[in-house]
Each structure stands twice: as structure tokens, then as C-alpha cells.
């Protein structure tokens, strides 16, 4: 009933020092449901076999079946998206420092242990989703990373509040934003460093943390060990990995990754017609509301009788209020039953049942609503950002 990805001969992951010769071994592939969807599956260090979008910079997609296993996405299955080809692969946590500088009274460098011992640890359950998740389903298609729906995951992040750290170094009057940079580096010196910034009021939100743990363990190196910015409710582009430089700004950030990249049309739903030009743009920020069916995949064969459909839903932090389920291709909807509330930034599970009649086909769909009344919408923009259309799954019932 569920699509599974079985891989023989993957390299074992033992401890923290990992050699990984997997690409030299026999190649496993998967075909995602769009033209050009052929992908290799490979076990990168500290990861189970994942869908390889690109090998340099490293971008790995989580197979959809993983999302049926629970609200939290295991660290070894969590998607990976770096922007630049040279990423830290040898990290000595004892030597690691994160620097806070710029418009602050006391520029300071903190060691990892100082962060863990001098500041209160907090946990937040939050979905990390790439701005371009599901881009490959844009119609018409758009250039960019051709993700299916696996550039997302949910984790319990542990770290310290950014605002506690900022209070320590004392931002000066006139501070308006905070810029973040990690240890990834371009191949060419002229390529812009990957930097993202948040307005000061967002950066000082108590839910924004510098995380040193994910689901109870150190972050995988590919997910930003030893320290990563967590911005619950915001797209993953802001969640800077291998974070080691924080700069308080008194002017708006005009670096490439804010001024040019990761922008969406300044229109309702960030949506335009493919022929539109000349529209203003704004930086992408909050996640859009989404839901997915997780226990059946498109083309699945069901057995007749009462059938339980499971799924997940999430939004940008208002909280999922309800999920509708349809077994007739979105013509009619009924309320699904919501699972445990693990926090307003978390995946929330849902279930619904329907009577699968022998020999029939069904087009299943789910549609989430958040506490602000927002629902999933069809949208199109030239970068394929923030997709949150209602997804449908076609199933056939045996005789």
C-alpha cells in the first residue's frame, strides 16, 4: 500500500567519523512523478538512502513514505539543502565559535559549551520546509531545484533563544535587523556568501533559537552541525546551517540572498500569471498551509472495505484548525480527525476513513485550514516558491 524504498548494501553509520563510498557502489534509482524525475538514491554520511537532487552543492530529498512514520522526521531521513559547494566536513566542537558583531555594545565570541551552559535551553517542535519544496509540480514548469514534496521535515529542536544572546551583547539604538552566515563557502571568491537576515522584531521572537540538537541528538553534519538557526514558521532559507557569524545591522540588508534571491511577487498569494512581468517582489517569509496524505501513494491498490487514510498538516504558526478529506476528487469534504497537538509550528497528524467499494477508483484529497481561516490555494510564480495546492492521490480498489 505504501511506496517503500529498499536499498541493499548501504554503508553503515557508526559513531561520528564516517567514510562513505556509496556512490561507487551499485546505483539505486527512483522516478518521481514528473518528466525528468529520475533520481539516484544514495546514503550520504549520517543519512539513510535519500533521493539525490544534486550532489554538489549537496541537496537530498526525503522519500515520501517517511512522513507516514510519525510526526517527527528522523535525523537520518531529514532533507538536505546547501547553497554553496564547499561545506564544513571536519568540525571540532571544542574549537567552534559563533561571533556576534556589528551594531552591538559588546561584540562577543561564544564557544559551543558556553551557549549550552550560560543560557537556558529551550525546545521547539517546528517544521523546516524549503521555499522550493514541490517546485517540480509547478505548471508550467519553472527552472530551479526540482523537488517533489520531500524538501520538508519536522523535528524537536533544542537550543538557546537568540534574544537571550542578543541581550548579552546589547544591540545599539538604531539596530533594525540581524544577519546570519554559516560556514559554507562558494567555489569562486566572487560568488556571494550565503547570508540571510531577519528584522529585529522577528529575530527577538522567543521561538527563534540557535539549535545544537535535533530530535534529541546532535545535528547531522549535513543539517548544520554544530549550530543552526531555527525560525519556526519561516521558510528554511532563513534557517542558516553551521551558523558561526551573527551581525546586527542598522540598514536593510542588501546582500544577494535577500535583495535578489528568495523573493516572491508582491501580489495576493504571491501568485502571478506566467505571462506577467514587471511586478514588485518581496522577500519570502512565512510557510503556507499544507496537508498531505501519507499512507497511500498515487496509483496505490486498495482492498475493499472501511479504509483509514492518514496524513500530516502544518502551517506558518497560526496552527492547523482542521483538515478536510475528500474521496471524490474535491467535490465534497468531511472533517478528518486531528492527532495530538505538538505545538503550532509542528506537523499535525490526521486520519479519515472511507468505504472503499470493490472495483472502483477514487481520487483522494486533503485540505487544511489554519486558525486564521487560511486554506491551501493554487498559485504560480516564476520561482515555484511556497506551493501549497491541494494534492490528490488516485487509488484503485480491488474486486
Amino acid at each position: 500500500m505504501k511506496r517503500t524504498y529498499f536499498i541493499a548494501g548501504s554503508a553503515a553509520v557508526i559513531g561520528r567519523a564516517i567514510a562513505n563510498p556509496v556512490l561507487a557502489q551499485s546505483r539505486q534509482t527512483v522516478t518521481l512523478p514528473f518528466p525528468g524525475g529520475q533520481r539516484e538514491l544514495a546514503a550520504f554520511p549520517q543519512k539513510r538512502p535519500l533521493i539525490v537532487l544534486t550532489s554538489r552543492p549537496v541537496q537530498l530529498e526525503t522519500p515520501s513514505a517517511v512522513f507516514d512514520d510519525g510526526e517527527f522526521t528522523p535525523n537520518d531521513a531529514f532533507f538536505v539543502r546547501w547553497h554553496l559547494p564547499n561545506i564544513p566536513t571536519q568540525i571540532d566542537p571544542a574549537a567552534f565559535r559563533v561571533r556576534i558583531r556589528g551594531a552591538v555594545e559588546q561584540p562577543t565570541e561564544f564557544a559551543l559549551d558556553e551557549l549550552k551552559t550560560r543560557f537556558a535551553a529551550v525546545d521547539v517542535n517546528a517544521v523546516l520546509e524549503c521555499a522550493g519544496n514541490s517546485r517540480a509540480f509547478s505548471s508550467p514548469r519553472v527552472p530551479g531545484g526540482q523537488w517533489a514534496n520531500g524538501a520538508m521535515g519536522n523535528a524537536r529542536w533544542r537550543g538557546i533563544r537568540l534574544r537571550d544572546l542578543l541581550a548579552q551583547v546589547k544591540p545599539q539604538a538604531g539596530a533594525i535587523a540581524v544577519r546570519f552566515e554559516g560556514a559554507e563557502r562558494p567555489a569562486l571568491p566572487v560568488t556571494p556568501q550565503f547570508q540571510k537576515s531577519l528584522k529585529l522584531d522577528v529575530a527577538t521572537d522567543p521561538n527563534v533559537i540557535l539549535a545544537y540538537q535535533m530530535n534529541g541528538a546532535d545535528l547531522p553534519v549535513l543539517n548544520g552541525y554544530p549550530l543552526r538557526l531555527i525560525v519556526p514558521g519561516y521558510f528554511g532559507t532563513y534557517w542558516v546551517k553551521a551558523l558561526n557569524d551573527i551581525e546586527v545591522l542598522t540598514e536593510p540588508d542588501d546582500n544577494y540572498w535577500m535583495k535578489t534571491a528568495y523573493r516572491v511577487p508582491d501580489t495576493p498569494n504571491y501568485s502571478v500569471a506566467p505571462t506577467d512581468t514587471g511586478f514588485a517582489t518581496v522577500p519570502l517569509s512565512k510557510l503556507t498551509i499544507r496537508s498531505f496524505i501519507t499512507n497511500v501513494s498515487d496509483g496505490a491498490a486498495l482492498t475493499p472495505g472501511k479504509t483509514t487514510i492518514r496524513g500530516i498538516a502544518f502551517d506558518g504558526g497560526s496552527g492547523v484548525r482542521g483538515v478536510g478529506f475528500s474521496s471524490d476528487g474535491t467535490a465534497t469534504w468531511r472533517d478528518a480527525t486531528l492527532g495530538s497537538d505538538l505545538g503550532r509550528f509542528s506537523f499535525r497528524r490526521w486520519t479519515a476513513t472511507f468505504d472503499a467499494q470493490p472495483g472502483r477508483e477514487y481520487l483522494l484529497a486533503s485540505r487544511a485550514t489554519n486558525a486564521d481561516g487560511e486554506q491551501q490555494v493554487d498559485r504560480w510564480n516564476p520561482s515555484g516558491y511556497a506551493r501549497n495546492a491541494v494534492e490528490t492521490v488516485r487509488v484503485a480498489v480491488g474486486a
Binding site: 554503508a11 554520511p45 549520517q46 554538489r56 571536519q90 559549551d113 526540482q146 560568488t191
Partner: protein, 114 residues
Amino acid sequence: MRRLLPLRGVILTALIATASLGARRDAPAAETPAAITLPAQNTNFRPAPGIEIARRDCLSCHSAEYVTSQPPLSKAAWTKEIAKMRTAFGATIPDADTDGLVAYLLAQNVTPPK
């Protein structure tokens, strides 16, 4: 069937890390350095005339899947991508290579653009 032996190692590591958390708060345990080795980048562009230009001009910054995973793009769209590599990322693609690179990128499209 997906839960195979390699995963057990990770879970065990996670459990050990969780179990030691209580002790770590006051007296941090010595952290051990992390070291990973990444697989080599994929250089498998699709065969088409001009493939040597793609190998020469693209692989210094990104692997071949950046090209091979794209949907079929028009000539204008591929030309725009090359311009973006130059202006946004500083790629040193010689002017003399432009026409040949566009022709290659079009020729290697999975299916022809509409």
C-alpha cells in the same frame, strides 16, 4: 523493510546522546570532532554535442544534476540561466562558449520544450 541495521546504529547513538543530556547541563561532556567524507560530485551530463563545454564551464561550481534534473527549458530560459550564473554567481564562462553551451543545454533536454 526500511528499518535495516544501519539505522539501528543511529538510533543507538541518539539514545546515548539523550541519556547523557541530564549530566551535560552542568558539566559539558567533552565533544568529539565530527568528520564526514562526501561522495564525489556527479559529472554525468547527458551525451549531446557540446558536452565538453558543459564539463568545462559548469562543474567548478556545481554537479551535473543541476542541469540534468531541470525540466525541458526553452532557449530563452537556458540563456537566462547562463546569464544568472555569470551575473549573480560570477561564473567565468567565456563569451565564446555561450552559443555552444546554449545549444548543448537545449539538446540535452529530456523532452523538447513546448
